[in-house]
Symmetry: C2
Subunit: 295 residues, 2 copies
């Protein structure tokens, strides 16, 4: 087999961008982002990478998750020099890139294995040209699990599911959620950052009851501002309990102020399920567009 440089490497000058897909149990971590003196997912991943590559390395993430929040479909990218990429090869062997990537993934998982299966790299690929884990994403989808009053509480669910003892009215929650869809200013449901917009496109916000009786919220948007999913779910819970009317969420959206009655839903039932990217051709263009919009 003759060795072929990956396309990205040929076009770029000296760097190769790698995309990693991963999942984690957020329970033992103080969230995604590195914080001094705390165990974070980013910290664990970057330490594992530094061990393999023998230099400090930074990754760029699709969705920063708060303390306790889980992920099944998190995406990051990182850049390797051509020398580092070649260095992953064993001796003088000519190895196809796919074998190298499988080895990178395996090596990462062996190092991360010290965390007892809490973090798992599902896949490692050479990113298509123009790929940026954060800025190329078309949308992020989160799930939120709730066992409400109609169910017998199963203690085995306690790390992934909210136990809400009062029964919840699904129809009321969906009626309240529906008017929030579309391109709107979510200031009322965000912890805003100085100078950053709180306008987002909410694409899905719905509640369904599974065959196991558990209520599953699906929340999808082009991007989320800080605390947005937990704020939306927390508000919908008040409607589901009958403590607020079905128009309350829409009223709050229009008022554009954070309401003292609302509280964040707990973090542990929240899971980043999927991040979707455009086709390879459309990627390069989109990275430039969203960077201009949100920076």
């Amino acid at each position: 087999m003759t060795y072929q440089e990956p396309a990205a490497l040929q076009r770029d000058s000296g760097f190769l961008r790698i995309r990693l897909d991963l999942g984690y149990d957020g329970g033992p971590f103080s969230g995604w982002a590195i914080q001094p003196g705390r165990t974070t997912v980013q910290g664990a991943l970057e330490e594992a990478l530094a061990l393999l590559l023998r230099r400090p390395i930074r990754v760029t993430v699709a969705g920063r998750t708060d303390a306790g929040v889980h992920a099944r479909g998190q995406v990051v990218h990182l850049d390797l020099t051509t020398a580092e990429w070649s260095g992953l090869r064993r001796g003088a062997d000519v190895e196809p890139n796919v074998a190298l990537l499988r080895r990178l993934r395996g090596a990462l998982n062996r190092v991360l294995g010290d965390l007892g299966g809490a973090v798992e790299v599902h896949n490692a690929v050479v990113a298509p040209p123009g790929f940026d884990a954060r800025f190329s994403a078309l949308w992020r989808r989160y799930s939120y699990r709730i066992a409400d009053g109609t169910l017998q509480w199963d203690p085995l669910l306690r790390t992934t599911t909210l136990w809400h003892k009062a029964p919840l009215d699904l129809e009321r929650m969906n009626a309240a959620a529906q008017p929030l869809l579309g391109l709107q200013d979510f200031l009322a449901f965000c912890k805003p950052r100085e100078g950053a917009t709180t306008v987002r496109e909410l694409q899905r916000f719905e509640f369904n009851r599974g065959t196991d009786g558990i209520l599953l919220a699906t929340v999808q948007a082009d991007a989320f501002c800080h605390n947005m999913v937990r704020s939306l779910v927390g508000a919908a819970l008040l409607v589901g309990e009958g403590r607020e009317g079905t128009s309350w969420l829409q009223e709050r959206l229009h008022a554009r102020i954070r309401d003292a009655r609302s509280k964040l839903a707990p973090a542990h039932p929240l899971v980043l399920e999927e991040v979707r990217y455009p086709s390879d051709e459309a990627l390069h263009q989109r990275a430039h567009q969203t960077r201009a919009l949100r920076c």
Copy 2:
């Protein structure tokens, strides 16, 4: 509503037997049974009961579980004096027993709530005459969950599911399990206690793959000796991997010695799902029968 003494209380002299059904996440506990200086499920439950009844109290359990093993359908009984039973009433109110039992359950769960949802009392009832949580049981059913090589590992399963990276052959495992059914001496799969029999009736021992791809073992017997489920599953794993033949379990059973090749499957994927009791009429008789057999 006129107050009616429960039947058990009328027949017995001065004691009322209560049956509690409960579930727990075994993760934070050093198993069921009380041990000095350790957090155990029995310890937590008896402390909560002592707090409510203002005296030390002992419960009798259907299935002692090891450290890390969970339960969805654990059963215990405890005996209250008629004075304690009446003392649960609020002041001079005449309350039906069902309300009292609901209050007992609620009070227990409030005290146990300090454990973050790790233990939950599902139900409290007055036990039928002759009921004994341990000796009246007809059978115990356990489940054991395994995600094997064909699946992408989901870190959110890590507290309830074994991650077995090699793919497992379900048909081989079922072929090996089937000959063990029936009344047999399970010495080869038990950690025996001095003077106690290791003869048990294995009623179900089967592996099925769910729609989610996860392999679920179901193991049911009249009763289990110590380590029996984890020993059976551990042996079946070696057959599923192809490291032992499908007749190996049966050979071990007949050899009646513990084999060095076998190892216990880990505790965290094991759940006590259900304990089944006979009808109320048959109860009294059965309690005497099994006590004679196993003591």
